[in-house]
Structure formats: C-alpha cells, structure tokens
C-alpha cells in the first residue's frame, strides 16, 4: 500500500506531484489551479470569515469522515452568520506513513461536500510530519462567505423569540464514541454530519425574521442555548419533551450516563426566530431530508436572564447547565 512519506511535504517534486495529482484533481477550480502564493478573490458587500481545525478519531465513521467534517464544519460556521459560503482554504497536517488510499477517500469526500454549497477550495497547504507528531491527519479549513442577511447574532435574541432545533440531537457525539469504543449498538446510528447552507438559504429566501443561528457542535445543544441566553441576556425556556433524541442516542446516554444535550452534532442547528414566523420556519426546514424533524423546542423570556430552564413533561423544571470539560462515563 502506498503511504505518505516525509518527502511528500518537502516542497520538491513529490510535494508537487501530491498537490497536482490529488488535491488539484479533486478540488479543481480556476482560482486554485493558478497556483499563486495567494488566491485573489471577488466578493460583493460584507464578508464573513472563519477558521476551524479538525481532529477526529476514528477518521472514518458512520455518516462521515474527517474530510466531510472539515468542509461541512467551516461552511456551516459561515451559514450560521447568514453568509453564503464562497471560498475555503484547506491545510493538511499528515503523519508520515498515512495511506494514500485513505487520503484520497478523504479528499473525495471533501469535494463531494463542497458541491452541496457551491463553495470552492481556493488555496491550501500540506505538511507531512514524523510519525507520532500528529494523530494520523489533522485538517484546518478557513472560509469566506458573502453575508446575505445582516444582524444574525447570538446577541440579537429578543423576548418572545421562538427556538427551533433543526433535527434530533447528539448523533455525531454518540457515533464517534461508539466507533472509538468499538461498540455496535445499532446499525441505525450515524453522524448527522451535513452541509447546512441549503436549509439556511431556504430560511432567508422565505424572508423569515431570524435573530440567531448556531450549529450545535462541541458542547452540543446545551452549550448553544447557554451561550445565547448569556449573550442576549434572555432566559431560554425549553420543553424537554420537544427535543428529539433518537432511541440509539438515548440508549448510549443511558449506558454511559451522558446527556444528549451535551453531545456534539455536526449537522444540527438551532434557530431563534420571530414568533409569527415560527411555523413557516419549521415547514421551510422540513423540506430538507436532514431537517425533517425540525421542531419548536422553546422560547425566550425574561424570567431568569442568562439562564436556560428545562421544563419536564410532568411539571418540574431545572436549569440546563453548560457541559463540563471532557465527557467521562459514569462509574456505576
């Protein structure tokens, strides 16, 4: 099996070959193949700019891989600001000995994911580091998007705004945990990893009054809601029964003592919208397969500013706190 060697990162012939035969082949576009020191870009109006680095073990999991994550993650960060994803950079840090075949699968997956939003990779970097310096492969992506709707912000949520979750929660965290532990709980469990721009574009096209959007990645739904409550100084009152959790994810939570609200997602977002637009927003989202379970889960009030209150179906309530540090399984 062909493997990546240190010489592939040396800047000479092998590097050149890797870039042309692999990256250009899959990411080909007019800007990238000019191979200049920097990409020269054309945009209109305000731009949004973001970056993220991706490390995941295992690199391939049910529903995605590190490449899909690296593209969807950055494209989604732009989308959550109401920005149409346009241009991405992509930097690979590859451990010496990494299989070419796997690298190609990852690059193919990135190209496929880019097509969903129409964004292009216009510049990049490749480093190969000695064995043990990184865990197989790290990818950094940065992205630029054209702001289509201004004012979407975690500080813009107002009393009365309705909170919508785009689908069931916790799938990515549960899937990666299961893959890491080599446990097979159910064939139906897969990551939610997905490019969200089409769904966001639909919300904007329907002229829905959106106060805030946020993809619930690390820290899960609990982290997003707490950040929003704090940044907008509102109380978010959430109906626990309205939060959808698949049986597989709930089962894993039961086994290890986790909360589904703390688990990571990679294709699930939360929207705060004006109350009169809530039903339109939900039906606009439900047109997309990955948002067919979109639902209103709560609303913003003034009761406990800065806090998230979870209402149980049987009449009690409690605060939903931020997840704490690394997720460790319970003892018994």
């Amino acid at each position: 099996m062909k493997q990546v060697q240190l010489s592939h990162g040396g800047g000479g012939e092998e590097t050149n070959k890797l870039i042309h035969d692999l990256f250009y082949r899959h990411f080909k576009n007019d800007i990238l193949i000019k191979a200049e020191d920097a990409a020269v870009l054309q945009t209109q109006g305000k731009i949004a700019f973001t970056t993220d680095s991706f490390t995941v073990s295992p690199l391939f999991f049910e529903g995605g891989d590190i490449g899909k994550l690296a593209v969807a993650g950055t494209v989604n960060d732009l989308s959550m600001m109401g920005a149409k994803p346009l241009y991405l950079s992509s930097a690979f840090m590859i451990e010496e000995g990494f299989a070419f075949e796997e690298l190609e699968r990852i690059v193919e997956s990135m190209a496929k994911e880019l097509a969903k939003s129409g964004a292009k990779i216009v510049c990049g970097d490749t480093k190969v580091v000695p064995r043990g310096s990184v865990d197989k492969l790290f990818i950094n992506t940065a992205g630029i998007g054209e702001v289509k709707r201004e004012g979407i912000s975690s500080q813009a949520i107002k009393e009365g705004d309705v909170i919508i979750a785009s689908r069931d929660i916790g799938r990515h965290g549960a899937t990666v945990l299961m893959a890491r532990e080599g446990l097979e709980v159910s064939a139906d469990l897969g990551s939610d990893c997905e490019t969200l721009w089409p769904a966001v574009e639909a919300l904007l096209a329907e002229n829905i009054s959106v106060s805030a959007l946020r993809d619930a990645t690390r820290g899960g739904l609990a982290a997003v809601l707490n950040e929003w409550a704090e940044n907008s100084d509102v109380c978010l009152e959430i109906e626990e029964a309205a939060i959808k959790v698949s049986d597989e994810v709930q089962g894993i939570c039961e086994m290890f003592g986790f909360e589904a609200t703390d688990l990571a997602n990679e294709g699930t977002f939360v929207a705060a919208v004006a109350p009169m637009h809530a039903a339109f927003a939900v039906s606009a989202l439900q047109r997309f397969g990955f948002c067919r379970d979109a639902a209103v889960i709560g609303r913003a009030t003034t009761q406990y500013p800065g806090k998230v209150v979870l209402h149980s179906a049987f009449g009690s309530r409690r605060f939903l706190d931020l997840p704490k540090g690394e997720l460790l399984p319970r003892i018994c």
Partner: protein, 375 residues
C-alpha cells in the same frame, strides 16, 4: 422472545402521566404523616435522578431528601488519590481507572493534571479494557485503580479472574471498593442525622441481594425501599416509604422487583469472594475510619496488589479536606450543599474544592447543575 432493546430499559419509567399520578398519590397519603419523612437516598445515582428530574418540586413539604455517602468518587480520601498519582508517576506505567476519578483533586494534584503533564493515565469505559491495555503493552506496568460500591466490584473480580487465568503478569490492582451497609451503620449509629427512611440503590442489590439491608429496619426502626433509578421508580419508592411510615411499619421492601431479589447474584458474589476479602479499616472522605467498610485483595493474590508491590512509592499519611469544605457533613446527612459557604463560589465543578462537587454523582454537583434558584 423478542430482542431486548436499550429503549426498553427506561421507556415507560419516565412516563409523565405516571409520574404526575404518583405525585398526586404521595401528596394525598403524606397528609397522614405524623412527622416529616426525611428520606436518605444512599446512592449518588438517586441524588442525580432526584435533582435532574426536579422531583422535590412535585412532592409535599413534609418530604425531605437527605443525601447519603453513596458516591464512590465523593468518599475517596485524598491520600488514596495521592496513591493513584504516585503510581501514575512511576516509570513505564499506565494507570487506568473509571470516569470522574480523573478529575478529583488529591492533596497536590489530580490525575487530569498528571495526564496533561505527560503521565499515561487512561479512563476506561469498562474495567475489562484494562486487560486489553496490559496485553498490548507487555513492556509496561498497568495499574487498575479500582473504585466503586458493590455494583462495580464484580467487574473488578471478573478482571482479576481473567488476569489470573490468562496469566497476564503486568496488570496490578489498587483496590478501593467500598460497602454500603457499614457506611449506613456509621451514619445511623452516630445519632446526629435525623433520618427516618431509606431508599436503597437497586444496582447494588442486583449483585448483593436486598438482604444486605435486612438489619436496618429492625435496628433503627426505619423503612428501607430498594429502588430503581428512573423517576417513576423513585416516586414509587417514596410512596412505599410514606405508606410504611403512615401505617407504622418499618420493613425492607423491594420496588425494583424487575431485577432485585433477596439473594442477589450468587455467582458474582462467589467470584468477588474468591479474590477479595473485607479490609479491616478504610478511611472515608469526610466521615473518617469505618471498620470493615471496604475490600482488599486476598493474601494469595498479593503479587497483584499495587498497594503491596509498590508500597515504597505510596504516601501513608491521612490528609484532611479543605477547611472550608463541608463534604463530610453533607455525606453524613447533616447538611445540604447550599449550606456550604463556598458552594458555587470558590467551589464549582470546574474547580472543585471538595469531592461532592467533582463527581457527576456527587450531591453538590447535582445541586449545582440542576437546582440553582429553582431549588
């Protein structure tokens, strides 16, 4: 028989209509109580359920929960955590343990801090993974820092059995398994805690059988209901305790009859007995020394006992908690987390002073996460 799904384990036991019905029933029957019912939930898992589901909000004012010493992380004295740290600092050593133990502060450091400093410390999802790690690292010593009550002890016994029968010679055991009944006895015989009913953890009794609680009703005149961890279970258990009190009975009852018998899992008990024996003394964090309240390896397996094999690196001095921390008082059922001066200020889950704030099963942690001003 159809295949058992994970969903079956909890589905139905969180049913809103059932919980509301039980709450109404408890409210009605509790009117006949002559004095407030002060229920100790011995186990941190119950504390977690009670706080997570906001059950006190559904109950009448004359029912009060008192949190017991049943969290294996909370009761671990600092010197034992220092043992784990000392073992992890040995050359060519991998220290493995369960869950929250990684975060608990010892006298100077914690396993999380040591791991960041480069020690090889790994949290396990199941103790049996320790065997795999030992086999994969034949040139290293793997030390399993074993913790937990009667529930997790069989897994340690199974790991011991596998290590002995498969002749894995680089896996050592630091045993910190503790026992529920001596701890309850210590709290009740102290006489300060005003407890007049118990709900006992069902998972302990799945192993030991409900029989371990049999002496309590007679000795202290308190009802004991062995209870599951779902909200319906806890509410049903409370109703059973209320009924006993109203009817003037003090008996051992099993709410969690779907898995608990009086005898328990005899095979698991035999396996534990083969490898482990009662330890004459164990110092509980905040409570102090309780005789016969923990287990240790039998003499014939001393060659696997990290406390003996690596005795020269282990500190021996007992170390008390931070002066401002009242974890001990909370564990004895004499105070609630919010009565602690440093609760939520100097002591939070991110920087805990005391062990009750560290573990997700600890009373302070459960109060901090779920109660706040909603209390």
């Amino acid at each position: 028989m159809s295949e058992l799904k994970l969903k079956d384990l909890y589905d139905g036991f969180r049913d809103p209509a059932t919980i509301r019905m039980l709450a109404a029933q408890i409210g009605e029957e509790a009117k006949a109580l002559h004095e407030p019912l002060r229920i100790m939930e011995v186990c941190g898992g119950h504390t977690h359920t009670i706080m997570k589901y906001g059950l006190p909000q559904l109950l009448p004012g004359n029912i009060d929960f008192i949190h017991g010493p049943g969290c294996p992380v909370c009761i671990m004295p600092k010197e034992r955590i220092d043992h784990a740290i000392a073992l992890a600092r040995m050359e060519d050593t991998i220290l493995v343990t369960l869950g929250d133990m990684i975060r608990v502060p010892g006298s100077q450091s914690s396993l999380a801090v040591e791991r960041a400093a480069g020690r090889d410390i790994r949290p396990l999802y199941t103790p049996m993974d320790a065997l795999k790690i030992a086999k994969e690292n034949p040139d290293k010593r793997v030390v399993f820092f074993a913790i937990g009550f009667e529930t997790t002890t069989p897994m340690t016994a199974a790991l011991l059995h596998a290590a002995v029968t498969q002749k894995v010679d680089n896996l050592y055991f630091h045993i910190n398994h503790v026992l529920v009944p001596p701890a309850i006895d210590a709290i009740m015989s102290d006489g300060q805690a005003k407890i007049n009913a118990f709900i006992g953890p069902s998972h302990v009794s799945v192993i030991t059988g409900a029989k371990i609680y049999a002496p309590l009703p007679q000795k202290y005149g308190t009802p004991v209901v062995v209870c599951g961890f779902e909200p319906v279970d806890v509410m049903q258990g409370i109703l059973m305790a209320v009924r006993q009190q109203v009817e003037g009975r003090a008996e051992l009852e099993i709410e969690y009859s779907r898995s608990v018998t009086m005898e328990g899992n005899v095979k698991a008990q035999q396996l534990i007995d083969m490898y482990l024996q009662p330890r004459s003394h164990f110092r509980w964090r905040g409570i102090g020394d309780i005789p016969d309240s923990a287990l240790e390896l039998r003499e014939e397996f001393a060659y696997l006992d990290a406390e003996k094999v690596f005795a020269e690196v282990l500190p021996t001095e007992p170390i008390d908690d931070h002066k401002l921390c009242i974890c001990g008082t909370i564990l004895k059922g004499l105070a609630k987390p919010m009565e602690c001066k440093v609760f939520g200020t100097a002591c939070t889950p991110n920087s805990p002073l005391g062990s009750c704030m560290v573990s997700s099963e600890g009373a302070c942690n459960a109060y901090y996460r779920y109660a706040g001003v909603l209390g």
